[in-house]
Amino acid sequence: MPVTQFRFIHTSDLHLGRQFGNFPETIRGRLVEARHGAIASLAAAARDHGAEHVVVAGDVFDTETPSDQVWRQAVGAMAAEAPTKWWIIPGNHDSLAAESLWEAFRAQAPENVRLLDQPRPAEIEPGVMLLPSPSPNRFPGRDLTEWMAGCSTPEGHLRIGLAHGSIVDFGSEYGDPETIPPDRAATAGLDYLALGDWHGFMRVGERTHYSGTPERDRFKHSGKGACAAVVIPGPGAVPSVTVSATGRFDWSEIKLELTPEQDPVEAFMSAIPRGSTSRRDCLARIVLSGWIRLPRRAELAGTIAAQEPEFGHLELRDDELMIDCMADDLDRIAASGALRIAADALFGESRDDSLGRHERAVASAALRRLYGYAAGSAP
């Protein structure tokens, strides 16, 4: 029976069990908990979207051996969201090589949670065929969607592909055998190809999308995690895809390229999110580059230090930021005398190209510190 319209949520890369060891203890637990909370968020998105199905394009778990607590609680959370149905394929992080995990998972999974561990079509709803490509191991070395082109399904049924992996580079004459051809949806006659692996939302074509992770986990992809809310009007019809926010934490990498004349505090303040409430769930990385005057560097450091407690996590990277120092900046350390001699020496070394990068950076930081002492402020 031909389907008139099919709605579902497309997600991937939940990476449950990730520990975030490179973050401070203060935020680490919240990040872990937020990943678990993504299940409920996805279910809520499904309800909001009027969808009964959530297709997960791989990497539900961060490793092949998540703790019992992680996977059992994940199963429990999905079960709690019934009647929403979860269709899961293993990705490269939790491939089928994780036999123990998936055996136990299958044994514990309730009716509304289905593990698709074979590349064969599954009718997830009358008239809707899901063509899953589970990852057999971490590096399969082949295009796992190839089989979809040769897979026949009943006439008039929707064909939805589900896979985990990267798309072929269009600039390459010869495609990587592991990558998925971007025209797979067309060559396999798919109404929609749901992909996972890329942690941000990406539209590959009108019928092919990466959903991104429902909860961001790195600064590479700024913003909050989301899923793709998909509506397929009918067989052969172009699907409608909208991004539905699901993430709790807002990840921001703020790059500020400063000039000596610029007010860095103003630039910083205008770049960071406003409102102390939302900042609690914000992880920001401030990447400073360019040039800054010595007093303003101290001023900016003070401002950042003052703002930092409001954020879930705020880190500063100033490896590329150079100190521009005018004579009156040095006067503020000392107009004359020994302190001035020291300041002049440090300033000279910070600009001495014959020295190594590290030595120059050390001299620059020492000058900043001296300025801080002289100004009576924190370095």
């Binding site: 975030f20 060891g21 961060d62 036999e99 009156d328 020994a338 001699i341 020291a342 002492y373």
Partner: protein, 865 residues
């Protein structure tokens, strides 16, 4: 810079505007009682130059009068480029004003004005003191806090300058703070502290690395276990797959059936082979029997033939022997005849020889008689010759004479050569008439006269010439005597006679030798032996007849002897021939006996067979039949063998099929066991989230490494800063302490001749006053002395600044309090001398004491508004 005018409005007690005008170039004095506003004036000056218009601290707040309002201060100052008016106000809102005007025109305001002021106060050389120098009213506390406090207060009075030099308090603060922060990481000796954050980070990193290694090992084991389990499961599934199992069993059954069939076929073939072997043996035996009988028959025939031949041969041999025997007897008779003839010829020969011997003995006797006669004649001759020869001079005697004669001749000739000579020369027409020793003396011939001479001259008489005695004469005479005695002994009268006798003796001896040689030939053994030989000859025999010829007899005997030899050789040949025929006859008899025996042996086996030939034919027929049967049996065997399956191949196939089944079953058991172990092992690890922990540890490790790197960077920064500060302070001291001392010492010596001063190495403040024979710590000096030194240090700074092209006003606020009247005069002198090119403003309440300073008097006056 020189100050010209100071105006205060709403500053402390001066709620209404006041000002000090007409401040001169050199020495100025504002002398007024206490609480008159001098210090307010000084504070106002300090504030306008050094307090930012936005500053609202104790100093600026202290300027506000009780009634409130914003204090305002204005100063007119003269610089090289003109006179400027500087004005500032302060308020609690930190929005004070600042402006700089020149000739009523605004030059700078707000922050720009502040920057302008800072630039004007800065020393033209980096690091120099600021442009205002003063001694504040600080000595009042001298008696309150003891020496240290007094010193501190005193040094406070020069703090600006010293700080400008060494960084002073700010430098100390910076260094202390730097050291304090560095102290978290390093010990005072610069070694890393045990509990430093870097060490803690290192320890944490070490812990995380260790844990990471452990987890990697666990995860590697786990991954390997999972991989192995997948492999084993796949293998087990393939092994227990029913289709596979059925295939293996079918293959085994097929191999077993093939093996059974092959085995049965092999047994049948073996039977055929055994039958064939039996037939082959039977046939061979029949062939052997046929051959055996034929052989015996052939042997019997051959033996009969051989016997017949032996009989014939034996008869022929007997005939030959008889003939040979007859020939032998004939030969014997011929030889006997020849022997008889030879004996006869021998006898005739002997007779002829006897006759020849008798003839030979007579001839020999005659010859011996002749030789004996000749030998006797030779012996006689030898005896005669010997007698003659013995009378002549012997050879040795002759030789002696010859030697003596030769010697005498030499002596004589020597004498003659040395002897005088006479030579005659005749008158023309005469040719003689003079004789020498009786001999005519020829003309022109020199005649030696060794012994002298007598010259007979015809018609004249004789002339005797005596040569006189000469050397050698005696020797010659002695030699002549000896020679004469030798001649006499030899029996001769001169050498010539001696020579003749010698020759004769030699001829005689030669003839004797010839005779003796002949005698030797004739009678080699002597004459007596010859006589004995003659005596030994038989007496001569008398025969009448001549006798037969020996030669003929010998010829006849030779012929007889040769004939006898020929006959004997013929006899030997005949005898040998006979021996041969006799041996042949014996051999023929033996052959015949052997042939008889052979025939008997050949006939013996056939004795029981009635018809041996018929029997041989019968057996040959049977053998032929058996051969035909054997060929048929062999053909059958070959046929059977050609159809035999490859038993090795069949057995190998069966063995392999069994092995496959057994291996599969064994492998199933092994995989089940190994899988059970792996399931248990993986089950233990899988739920422990080792991968999660590994990822977590890895991330933590990265973060900790970053943190540790940051801490190390922090240490590098602090060390760099500390080093920079220490280096800068050392440089500052090197740059200013020595010049200050250079300026200070001449001023000091106005007060204390030959005095010197030591500055503290750290603070650069005065530490010791050094006078001849005494070295006094600054702290134990009297208040007046310390006060004077402080002021002189200030003046030295001012002189230093002025030399550098930047004159700074000196402001003294009650700076001379403890100085006595004598010293104050010296101080006035010093001030006056410095004020020649430096502006000095003295604020004092000691109106009387400073009356004679001789300075430009200043006063604080209210302004018009």
């Amino acid at each position: 810079m020189k100050l010209r005018n100071i105006r205060l409005d709403n500053v402390r007690r001066f709620v209404a505007p006041v000002e000090i005008r007409d401040i001169g170039d050199g020495l100025n004095i504002l002398s007024a009682p206490n609480e008159h506003g001098k210090s307010t004036m000084l504070d106002a000056l300090h504030a306008v130059f050094f307090k930012n218009r936005k500053a609202w601290d104790s100093e600026t707040r202290s300027l506000v009068p009780h009634a409130g309002g914003d204090p305002a201060i204005a100063v007119e100052a003269e610089f090289d480029d003109g006179t400027y008016r500087i004005r500032k106000t302060w308020n609690p809102r930190r929005r004070g004003e600042a402006e700089v005007l020149k000739s009523g025109q605004l030059v700078a305001q707000a922050d720009a004005a502040e920057w302008w002021i800072a630039e004007r106060l800065k020393s033209p050389k980096d690091g120099g003191p600021a442009g205002l120098l003063w001694v504040r009213q600080g000595f009042a506390g001298l008696d309150e806090g003891g020496a240290d406090n007094a010193r501190r207060n005193l040094m406070t009075s020069v703090a600006g300058e010293v700080e400008a030099m060494t960084g002073g308090r700010r430098m100390n603060d910076a260094m202390e703070r730097c050291d304090r922060e560095l102290g978290r990481f390093l010990t005072p000796t610069g070694r890393p502290k045990q509990d430093s954050p870097v060490r803690q980070a290192d320890a944490e990193i070490e812990r995380l690395e260790k844990r990471q290694a452990e987890l990697r090992e666990v995860t590697a084991r786990l991954s390997e276990g999972l991989r192995r389990r997948r492999q084993l499961r796949r293998e087990r599934d393939e092994l227990v797959d029913p289709a596979g199992r059925q295939e293996r069993e079918a293959r085994l059954a097929e191999a077993e059936a093939a093996h059974e069939q092959a085995r049965r076929h092999a047994e049948g073939l073996e039977r055929v082979r055994q039958s064939l072997d039996n037939k082959r043996i039977e046939t061979e035996r029949a062939d052997e029997k046929v051959a055996e009988l034929a052989g015996r028959l052939d042997e019997a025939k051959a033996a009969e033939s051989a016997r017949e031949a032996a009989v014939r041969h034996e008869a022929a041999a007997a005939t030959a022997r008889a003939g040979a025997e007859r020939q032998l007897k004939g030969a014997d008779a011929i030889v006997a005849e020849s022997e008889e003839q030879e004996a006869k010829s021998m006898k005739a020969l002997r007779t002829a020889q006897e006759f020849a011997l008798a003839r030979s003995a007579g001839k020999l006797r005659k010859d011996l008689v002749d030789r004996l006669d000749r030998a006797a004649a030779l012996a006689e001759r030898i005896a005669a010759l010997s007698a003659e020869t013995r009378a002549e001079i012997r050879a040795d005697v002759l030789e002696d004479l010859e030697l003596r004669h030769a010697n005498l001749e030499v002596l004589r000739r020597t004498r003659d050569a040395e002897a005088p000579t006479v030579t005659m020369t005749y008158l023309p027409g005469r040719s003689g008439g003079v004789a020498l020793d009786g001999d005519p003396l020829p003309e022109g011939v020199a005649r030696s006269i060794p012994e002298g001479a007598v010259l007979a001259i015809e018609g004249v008489g004789e002339l005797a010439v005596d040569p006189g005695r000469r050397a050698g004469g005696e020797e010659l005479a002695e030699a002549a005597r000896e020679f004469a005695r030798a001649l006499a002994s030899a029996g001769v009268d001169g050498i010539d006679a001696a020579w003749d006798s010698g020759r004769r003796r030699l001829g005689g001896e030669s003839r004797i030798r010839d005779a003796r040689t002949e005698l030797e030939i004739v009678a080699s053994d002597g004459i007596d032996a010859l006589r004995e030989e003659l005596a030994a000859l038989p007496a001569p025999e008398e025969r009448d007849e001549e006798g037969p010829s020996v030669e003929e007899a010998e010829e006849a005997h030779r012929i007889a002897r040769e004939r006898l030899s020929a006959r004997r050789r013929e006899l030997e040949a005949t005898r040998e021939s006979f021996r041969l025929t006799e041996a042949a006859a014996i051999e023929a008899a033996g052959t015949l006996a052997a042939a008889d025996a052979r025939l008997e042996r050949a006939r013996a086996p056939l004795a029981d067979i009635d018809d041996p030939e018929a029997e041989r034919r019968r057996m040959a027929t049977r053998a032929t039949r058996l051969r035909t049967e054997l060929d048929a049996a062999e053909a059958r065997y070959r046929e059977e063998k050609a159809g035999t399956p490859d038993m090795d191949g069949v057995e190998t196939t069966l063995e392999r099929a069994r092995s496959i089944v057994e291996a599969a079953n064994g492998r199933i058991r092994e995989t089940e066991i190994e899988l059970a172990g792996l399931d248990a092992s993986i089950g233990l690890q899988a739920g422990k989230a080792v991968h999660e922990e590994l990822a977590d540890v890895k991330a933590r490790l990265e973060a900790e490494c970053r943190r540790r790197d940051g801490l190390r960077f922090e240490v590098d920064v602090l060390v760099k800063l500390r080093d920079a500060l220490q280096s800068a302070r050392a440089k500052a001291r090197d740059r200013y302490v020595a010049p200050v001392l250079e300026e200070l010492v001449p001023l000091l010596r106005n007060f204390w001749p030959e005095a010197g001063i030591e500055l503290n190495a750290e603070t650069a403040l005065p530490e010791k006053l050094v006078r001849p024979g005494a070295e006094e710590d600054f702290d134990v000096l009297s208040g007046g002395t310390r006060e004077q030194i402080a002021l002189l240090v200030r003046l030295a700074f001012a002189r230093l600044l002025m030399k550098s092209g930047y004159g700074a006003p000196i402001i003294l606020d009650d700076a001379i309090v403890f100085t006595d009247d004598d010293r104050i005069e010296l101080m006035f002198d010093a001030l006056t001398r410095q004020a020649r090119d430096i502006q000095v403003i003295v604020l004092t309440c000691r109106q009387k004491a400073f009356r004679d300073l001789g300075a430009n008097n200043l006063s604080i006056r209210a302004t018009g508004g």
